[in-house]
Amino acid sequence: MIGYELPPYALGLGIELDHDEDGLPVLHMDFSERVLGRPGFLHGGALSGLLEMAGIAALRTELARRGEDVVLKPVNVQVEFMRGGTAQRTFAAGQITRAGRRIALINVTAWQDDRAKPIALAQMKILLSPAG
């Protein structure tokens, strides 16, 4: 389970939990006017938004499993756009490369009809600080 509610930004873009995969969430985002860039293609910013939401969802899921209550502060993200996203559902899933006490490094992949052909990759660094 994703273990928390997606924020207003994600809900507005139509981002939803698709399914769990090996204990980590896969999110999806349907194609709509709200995520449209050039005609017929996904906007790079909306795609980046989906990637970041998937990365944060993966990290939150892992931290909840460990029973850690921490505040997440994004430090940076680098997005590589590999293929134009077309007018169809887009999926994204994060892999936690390293989650220590202070910082987490997450790799996120986005794909559409063929998972073997990712349309974008993101690498995120997120600072972890104790809640409260």
Binding site: Y9, R34, G45, A46, S48, G49, E52, N76, F81
Partner: protein, 158 residues
């Protein structure tokens, strides 16, 4: 100046068509993702372009704090740097974002409009190198720094 011939969106422009930033400012972001997140023209110069992203609760990354998600900041900077490239080139050359790196200095203050300053600092035939700063009132106290590159997909930048 409205000529009555303005295309309905940036993307309806013909490749190679003259790019007039002041005119583009009028019809940009009237549809699609830019319209949904509420991007607006702010200012431009010879190789830079600024867009404004007014704060809205629907763009929050956390419902309770109202702090903007980082996604809208990326969209803001993607569009501002893209417009900066066409402003420098002087014509509309269709292109694709190859990569964008965003370093977040701090969260934007809820309620404040975020300004995205995008600049094209180097142009080759097929690659445009861009950088930018997002701030919420004071450019010396930035919300984010951005670097990235675009690739011309139809024709060349120069």
């Amino acid at each position: 100046m409205s000529t009555g011939k303005e295309p309905p969106s940036i993307h309806d422009m013909e490749p190679g068509m003259d790019f007039d930033p002041a005119m583009a400012a009028k019809f940009m972001n009237k549809r699609g993702h830019g319209s949904y997140i509420g991007l607006r023209y702010h200012a431009h110069g010879s190789n830079w372009f600024e867009l404004a992203l007014p704060w809205r609760a629907e763009l929050a990354g956390m419902a309770d704090s109202g702090i903007l998600a980082s996604g809208p900041i990326i969209s803001l900077m993607d569009n501002a740097t893209s417009m900066a490239v066409w402003t420098l080139v002087g014509s509309f050359i269709p292109h694709a974002t190859l990569d964008l790196r965003v370093d977040y200095m701090r969260a934007a203050v809820p309620g404040r409009t975020v300004i995205g300053h995008g600049e094209c600092y180097k142009l080759t035939r097929t690659v445009a190198f861009v950088r930018g700063i997002a701030h919420d009132g004071d450019i010396d106290d930035p919300v984010a720094h951005v670097t990235g590159m675009f690739m011309a997909t139809h024709g060349a930048y120069k």
